[in-house]
Amino acid sequence: MQPVATTFFFYFLSAVTVISGIAVITRRNPVHSALALIVALLGQAGLYLMLYAPFVAGVQIILYAGGIMVLFLFVIMLVNIERAQKEEQFNKQWIVGIVAALALGVLFVLVYMKGKGLFPQTVAQLPEGENTQGIAMLLYRDYMFAFEIASLLLLVAIIGAVVMAKKRI
């Protein structure tokens, strides 16, 4: 007897995420797109919780929905959106773009159909309740060098953003 709630929440969160994703790329007003993207990110954080990844779900909510989206909304307010809304929203190659993207989607489905046997379909039982501890051990011990490189990358990004956005240095 399978629990029903897992199935229900999976389809509910997936529908929320995908429908918000469609709204992101179709809305005319960039502010509406940003709000739809926040909903998509929250739905995806729910999917992370269903995959027993509470730390990544928290990082997703705090950093993505809280930090990066505030940055996006800030920039949308800075640039002139009234004029951009009256213009054509899609470029001239939109037919080619949609055909290429759909070909990519068909490729994904074919690969999944052929390669389904390559990974186990039964879910391995990881020890629960130790997610954050395990991530901390990996991040600060095994992936220490990559962690330091990531901090350097963030420093470079901060300097780059300030240099780019400032009028005169």
């Binding site: 897992t6 995908v18 790329i25 797109s33 995806q44 992370y48 995959l51 800075l78 640039v79 290429a100």
Partner: protein, 101 residues
């Protein structure tokens, strides 16, 4: 009722990825193109976390690094957008052709 397997998550991630690619290839507004790139990165993250359920926590570490990169990319991309908007008063991708003299 069909139990939810890793394949279900992969299909959702593929749908998000395709949506992001459509947004990057068809929209003119730079802000929405950057948001579509965020959608693509999130699809990759969903794949990584779904596989980390099978093979241990390393996928979640990679997802955290991808989120870090997404933050850096958004900051630099939006900085470029502000600098460009100050010079040319437009946010459309196909009008960013200063190098094409």
């Amino acid at each position: 009722m069909v139990p939810i397997t890793t394949l279900h998550y992969l299909v959702v991630a593929a749908a998000l990825f395709v949506l992001g690619v459509i947004g990057v290839l068809t929209r003119r507004n730079v802000v929405i193109v950057l948001m579509s790139i965020e959608l693509i990165l999130n699809a990759v993250n969903l794949n990584l976390v779904a596989f980390s359920r099978l093979y241990g926590l390393h996928g979640q570490i990679f997802a955290i690094f991808v989120i870090t990169d997404a933050a850096a990319e958004a900051a630099v991309g939006l900085g470029i957008l502000i600098a460009f908007f100050r010079n040319k008063e437009t946010v459309n991708v196909d009008e960013v052709d200063l190098l094409k003299w």
